[in-house]
């Protein structure tokens, strides 16, 4: 080997290592940023899942129903929000008006979903109390189909926000009422936007409020009593149907909040979106320990994080499997979920 070749090879290898070094450096620099970014995304997504999961877990806790219609209820909440945005021209509301718009949406969707959820219980579930548990499940599946169809028709309304209603089935863009500006400055490697903050700022007070309601109010006490033993609760003078109705009201309201947050965060709604949101939320509820409110929140955030990390570091096509594999493993080793109460045998 002559010198020239050596020199050439030396240069070549030197070049290689330098390129590699830059790469490593870039990766090391970028790694932390990307990871933090994924964690932020995961928590935001997880919070939304958690809000919906609470609706599942409350209903399950009290009447042992996997309320399949809950995800689709949220779909309708989003459609209501989009209708309001279109009808009131909210895209043009600037400054404080923007905040007012978001508050209006949150409140109206919450009211709407609460009343709708209560009505569903009144019409489809209440007549089935004391009947086989699985009849209730099928009724819920039926309601889910009906809600999907209503959402399809809703998307066909001849309004500008619905594309004039010509393509009822198409996914709808939800206008960005909340800015997507990076709060850490436009050139920061990590992006935290008002949207991420918004999700956290709305969700956490709601969860605190709910905990207070369940722990400290008369209604909350009654709810826990009914969940423990409906017959005994009735004997103690609790109007069981009213308590169950209130549970649906509260679960529905949270679903309504979640639907608006979902719409503002993801900016797309479609008549079939309830399937996945519902599935995620239900999984979260079980993962956390079904029937447990903090469990639903923890479960939601765990699922949000797992999804983000799996999308980021494994492969998006395996994400669903990863989530469910973790779920199965958790249940195998901790059969009542992360925060679920130990099951007692009742004899």
């Amino acid at each position: 080997m002559n010198l020239a070749t050596q020199g050439f090879l030396g240069e070549y290898f030197l070049g290689m290592t330098m390129a590699q070094a830059t790469l490593v450096e870039n990766v090391a620099m970028g790694w932390g940023h990307v990871l933090s970014q994924q964690l932020i995304t995961g928590v935001s997504n997880g919070m939304i899942i958690a809000l919906i999961a609470i609706g599942y877990t409350m209903v399950y806790g009290i009447i042992e129903l996997i309320n399949f219609a809950h995800g689709d209820l949220c779909t309708l909440g989003s459609f209501l929000a989009l209708t309001l945005v279109g009808a009131l021209g909210m895209e043009a509301w600037a400054g404080l008006g923007g905040t007012a718009a978001v508050v209006t949406l949150l409140i109206s969707a919450a009211l709407f979903c609460a009343v709708l959820n209560w009505s569903i219980d009144r019409v489809a579930y209440r007549p089935l109390r004391g009947k086989p548990k699985l009849a209730l499940l099928v009724s819920a599946i039926g309601c889910s189909f009906i809600l999907i169809n209503i959402a399809l028709f809703w998307g066909g309304l001849p309004m500008e926000v619905f594309g004039g209603g010509k393509a009822a089935a198409a996914p709808k863009d939800f206008p960005s009422l909340i800015s997507n500006e990076n709060l850490l400055g436009a050139h920061s490697a990590i992006t935290v936007t008002w949207r991420d903050l918004f999700v956290v700022m709305v969700t956490i007070p709601l969860m605190i409020g709910l905990t207070w309601l369940v722990k400290s109010t008369r209604l909350g006490k009654a709810m826990r009593a009914v969940a423990q033993n409906p017959t005994a609760a009735a004997l103690m003078g609790i109007d069981v149907n009213r308590v169950i109705g209130s549970t649906f009201l509260i679960g529905g309201a949270l679903g309504g909040f979640a639907s608006v947050i979902y719409a503002l965060y993801n900016n797309t709604i479609s008549f079939q979106m309830g399937y996945r949101t519902g599935m995620d939320a239900f999984t979260a509820a079980v993962l956390g320990g079904i029937g447990s409110l903090p469990g639903a929140v923890v479960g939601g955030i765990v699922i949000g994080l797992v999804r983000a990390l799996s999308d980021g570091y494994i492969e998006a096509r395996w994400t669903n499997s990863v989530v469910f594999a973790i779920l199965i493993l958790t249940l195998v080793f901790r059969p009542s979920g992360i925060l679920g109460a130990k099951l007692r045998e009742k004899v």
Binding site: N45, G163, P171, N267
Partner: protein, 405 residues
């Protein structure tokens, strides 16, 4: 036991009533001067917007000949190959539609399907019935072209050995190639490829990937996504970190292309976004939001967009807009063309038997339709290879250039 007996009687009586009722409802086949065209497209679920437009196109073609070819009256029935419990095309329903069509001897043409996967089910059935099938939307190449799909394709779809399946759209093996070439001509050097893991999306992404590598474009990553995910923010972060010039998504509006475009923007990732013709519908822009795709999304399409159609195409567009009060979606012209070709062949064949009509369709040469002048080749594919590259401007598709000529 008594209750049981009653149940049996009730059951028997009710089914007997049902049967006779259905039998009554069924029209008696007396008139032989009636021929029927059937279309099988997914009408329940998310593809509905596009398929409704295709059906409008078919109806228009039939209305144009006043529902008559020669002495025969043409009836048209739009079947749904989706089912409510699936919300998407359902293999059972598609097979049912194909069987129904092959058994009803007055049916002389089957326009469908929209999804290539569905055609895999119905092609062999219709092939045995010798019924001509023209698809306005299937672009999976393996259905017609030997050597492009699995080793046994397309032989398995033609149990009789004869060709009865035709399509009026160019296939993905052409579209994926021109898409990659277009990307290169725009100066793209690094690309990140996604697909929705479905027959169509994955197929076209594979072609795109292969051609990109041949052209020397660096492929930074290739991933299948879960199209039902609520958002793709985490994926967008990952893509942003490797800074590609272009993200190619082999998928459709129904598999959430709009959301992906949107989340790339939301993550402040700057690559352009390229999608195939499954996204060439207004619903894509609607779903993504104008601001997220204006000037940054590129859509390839196996034909010319409606506003670029000249001559007959332009006439079609104007008539359609007048008749239905909205601009036609991209595939409306294909529905129209498929039906038009069939009607024209029927007129030439001057017969009501399927073999004659099949032959006439196969012999279609230099057909002057809304898509230009084209013929069916020996595989049943259109010779039309004009494709277009489009972008989005002010919330509307804008034609950029002709591709693949």
């Amino acid at each position: 036991m008594l209750k049981n007996l009653t149940a049996v009687c009730v059951l028997a009586v009710s089914s007997a009533t049902l049967f006779s009722a259905i039998a009554w409802a069924q029209e008696t086949p007396g008139e032989t001067k009636k021929l029927k065209i059937i279309s099988s497209l997914p009408l329940t679920g998310s593809a509905n917007a596009q398929t409704t437009s295709v059906i409008n196109g078919i109806r228009m073609a039939i209305d144009e000949v006043n529902g008559k070819v020669g002495d025969y009256t043409i009836e048209y029935e739009a079947l749904d190959d989706a089912s409510p419990q699936r919300g998407n095309w359902d293999p059972a329903v598609e097979a049912q539609n194909a069987n129904k069509a092959s058994r009803d001897l007055s049916v002389v043409g089957y326009i469908g399907t929209y999804n290539s996967g569905a055609s895999k089910i119905s092609m062999p059935i219709l092939n045995k019935a010798g019924l001509v099938m023209i698809s306005p939307g299937n672009t999976y190449p393996g259905l017609t072209k030997p050597g492009t799909g699995e080793a046994n394709e397309p032989k398995i779809y033609r149990p009789t050995g004869k060709i009865n399946y035709f399509r009026v759209v160019p296939t993905d093996d052409l579209q994926g190639v021109v898409a990659a070439e277009w990307a290169q001509s725009m100066g793209v050097q690094k690309v990140f490829i996604l697909d929705d893991r479905e027959l169509y999306g994955k197929g076209i992404a594979d072609v795109f990937e292969k051609r990109s590598k041949e052209l020397g474009i660096q492929v930074l990553g290739r991933e299948g996504v879960d199209p039902k995910a609520t958002n793709f923010k985490a994926l967008a972060t990952k893509i942003k970190a490797v800074t590609p010039d272009l993200v190619y998504y082999g998928g459709t509006t129904q598999t959430n292309a709009g959301q992906i475009a949107k989340d790339l923007r939301t993550a402040n990732a700057t690559p352009s976004f390229m999608v195939p013709d499954g996204c060439f519908e207004n619903a894509f822009i609607e779903a993504a939001g104008d601001a997220n795709v204006n000037g940054s999304a590129y859509i390839t399409f196996g034909g010319l967009p409606a506003d670029q159609l000249t001559g007959r195409g332009a006439e079609f567009r104007d008539l359609y807009t007048k008749k239905y009060g909205q601009e036609p979606e991209a595939y409306a012209a294909y529905g129209y063309e498929a039906c038009k070709v069939l009607l024209e062949a029927m007129a030439r064949a001057k017969t009501k038997d399927r073999a004659g009509i099949l032959q006439a369709v196969a012999e279609t040469r230099d057909f002057e339709g809304v898509l230009g002048k084209w013929s069916f080749d020996a595989n049943g594919d259109t010779t039309n290879k004009v494709m277009s590259g489009n972008t989005v401007e002010n919330g509307k598709f804008k034609f950029v250039k002709v591709l693949g000529k």
